[in-house]
């Protein structure tokens, strides 16, 4: 029996699943090279035909959303422009499988490098098309997944999703993946739990390396492999409570959040990618309480224009409602190539505002983009990982300088209110040093882990990492009290804000403004309605 292992990712479709792990990362089957180029050509033509037919067969049982995806895949397969390069390669002597793979990989690369998130997500469809044909070429008999399995691997093909019978449970846990993928969209509409971005660190499950049962918590975006009996028991409690809450919560989504005593609570959303807002009805939330900007810094350092467009999109979506954008919070568990530095203890090192102030040329680009985007909505900007007042003063000074620079060049801009994240204990303990900030946003994830000295992703100390510990709640209450006294708004944007079990304690500590993952909006509002404050 191996040790329990907890991996943390991002929820793409909320829910719970308990079941055997089924690995998606199989070695591809063997292809037998044919005698002549004409035979290779015929083999590929047949395989494309077989794949097209299989997709057509799936349409009959698919709902309209899934049918749309299948029709798209079929249209791509039937387009000579897709197979043309492969047939050309075959004519010059390549085997059908290699020719097809190369042609499709070239096409896939074009999608993967797109700067539009929606378009990038289509790479998964192209990979699916590629593998459908390869599968037909190699006559690969796929192993059937056991009932209720949790599919685990790099990524999952939409057809694999559609072929699977989800009525017996099961879920999806991806090392990579995207919450904007077709599969994520299908998973949300069918209520199949799904987590993406678990990272490559996990074990590769295989018949030779069984990890046994896995617990997928797609409400909070985590998975536990080889869990202990106690973890299984706790998981089942969370799972049945989730099912009950979800049914009840649906009725709350469209209404403003109000406690049992009639107190209005602002509920905003946390987003990471501008396209996240495409799936949210702006009427169901009170704004964006946290827009992370690290995603923009995923592969390369984004230029000012790319950032400006991303921020503007969200501001225009929100209309009059506030959008709080956090300057890049790289470092810690979020390394950015070419920006962050390797450190022995990254959570106590050069991360957040510390890194941004150490590399001001990168922060300045972001500041210009924010100042320009500010004219398109109700923008607020906050700095992460502030520990001392001097950091805020220096960051704010950069805003003033860049504003003057833009104004001198005649470029439209607007200075947003500047606030700080409260996540380093020094700020929560002595907030009086920050009486001149425009607002406080409590980052409960980091605040909890720093107060309790217990990492969130370490299963052996997970029991210590609780926002409900009196030490953490007392700090939150004192920040709220200081904010009231100084008339500085205080909100909270950590995962605790969307956790129904933590919401009563947060409201009792005085918070009236929470920011939650979009998928948790309804449940958070339902939980708020039960609190008697």
């Amino acid at each position: 029996m191996s040790e329990p292992l907890r991996l943390q990712g991002i929820s793409a479709s909320a829910g719970y699943a308990e079941g055997p792990l089924f690995s998606l990362d199989r070695a591809t089957a063997h292809y037998t090279v044919k005698a002549t180029a004409a035979d290779e050509r015929a083999a590929l033509e047949t395989a494309i035909g077989v794949a097209t037919q299989r997709l057509g067969g799936l349409i009959d049982t698919a709902n309209s959303e899934a049918a749309g995806i299948l029709e798209f895949q079929i249209a791509m397969l039937e387009d000579d422009a897709l197979s043309g390069p492969a047939f050309a390669a075959i004519a010059s002597g390549q085997a059908a499988d290699a020719a097809w793979r190369q042609a499709l990989d070239t096409e896939i690369a074009g999608y993967e490098t797109s700067d539009q998130d929606y378009f990038r997500a289509r790479a998964a469809d192209l990979r699916d098309i590629r593998d459908q044909v390869l599968r037909a070429l190699t006559e690969d008999d796929e192993r059937a997944a056991p009932a209720g399995a949790i599919f685990y691997g790099e990524d999952i093909a939409p057809t694999r999703f559609l072929e699977t019978d989800w009525s017996t449970g099961g879920g999806i846990a991806l090392k990579a993946g995207s919450a904007a993928s077709h599969v994520a969209m299908l998973a949300r509409s069918r209520g199949v739990p799904m987590v993406v971005g678990l990272g490559a660190a996990g074990p590769s499950a295989s018949p030779a390396n069984p990890v046994g049962i896995a617990l997928l918590d797609a409400e909070h975006g985590g998975i536990v492999l080889s869990p202990s009996p106690a973890e299984i028991e706790a998981f089942r409690r969370s799972s049945s409570s989730f099912a009950a809450r979800r049914d009840k919560a649906k009725t709350y989504l469209a209404k403003p959040a109000v406690t049992k005593a009639g107190t209005r609570v602002q509920v905003q959303v946390n987003i990471a990618d501008p396209s996240d807002v495409d799936g949210i009805d702006v009427a169901t939330c009170d704004g964006v309480g946290l827009m992370r900007t690290e995603f923009l810094f995923g592969r390369t350092l984004p230029d000012e224009e790319t950032q400006y467009r991303a921020y503007r999109k969200v501001l225009e979506w929100a209309g009059e409602k506030p959008v709080t954008i956090r300057t890049v919070d790289a470092g810690g568990d979020k390394p950015v190539p070419g920006f962050t530095v390797a450190e022995a203890n990254p959570f106590l090192g050069l991360r957040g505002i510390r890194l941004s102030l150490a590399r001001p040329e990168i922060l300045r680009v972001q500041i210009r983009a924010l100042l320009r985007a500010g004219i398109h909505g109700n923008l607020k900007v906050m700095f992460p990982m502030i520990a001392v007042a001097d950091e805020f003063a220096r960051a704010a000074a950069l805003f003033t300088e860049e504003q003057a620079g833009l104004a001198a060049r005649g470029i439209a801009q607007k200075m947003p209110p500047l606030g700080i994240m409260v996540e380093v204990p020094s700020v929560a303990i002595a907030p009086e040093a920050f009486a001149d900030v425009a607002f406080f946003s409590i980052g409960s994830n980091d605040l909890t882990q720093y107060v309790m000295a217990a990492a969130r992703d370490n299963v052996s100390v997970a029991h210590l990492n609780s926002v409900r510990h009196p030490a953490v709640l007392r700090l939150i209450a004192s920040v709220v009290a200081f904010g009231r006294e100084q008339e500085i708004p205080v909100s909270l944007c950590g995962d605790a804000g969307g956790d129904p079990a933590s919401i009563p304690g947060l409201l009792e500590a005085g918070l009236r403004d929470l920011s939650v993952a979009p998928a948790q909006l309804a449940m958070a509002k339902a939980a708020i309605a039960d609190v008697p404050v």
């Binding site: 387009d79 929606y118 969209m185 495409d278 799936g279």
Partner: protein, 100 residues
């Protein structure tokens, strides 16, 4: 004598000329004998409007002013019908915004 036609239309669909919209667009284009092409700028590059691979490769997001041109039999009808399809938001209901 060979007919030709050209027009521009604004893409208002939430995800642009992608996936489902591009299936409808290319299917409609294929119903005309004329050669039909699309571009994101008046000076090109122009993509074959009957090839979904090429249309997808144009990467036209929401807010793009799409240029459509056709040459040959029924060029005018082809351009007119395609412009109409884009104007009708590809005949998709409001629900596509949520699911896309």
């Amino acid at each position: 004598m060979s007919a030709s036609a050209e027009a521009t239309v604004l893409i208002t669909h939430a995800v642009g000329l992608h996936a489902r919209p591009s299936v409808k667009f290319t299917k409609l284009a294929k119903t005309f004998a004329a050669d039909v092409e699309v571009a994101l700028a008046a000076n090109g590059p122009w993509f074959d409007a009957k090839s979904i691979v090429k249309v997808m490769a144009a990467k036209a997001p929401k807010g793009t002013l799409l240029h459509i041109r056709a040459k040959g039999d029924g060029a005018g009808e082809a351009v007119g019908a395609l412009v109409e399809l884009v104007r009708r938001d590809f005949d998709e209901g409001a629900d596509h915004v949520r699911t896309a």
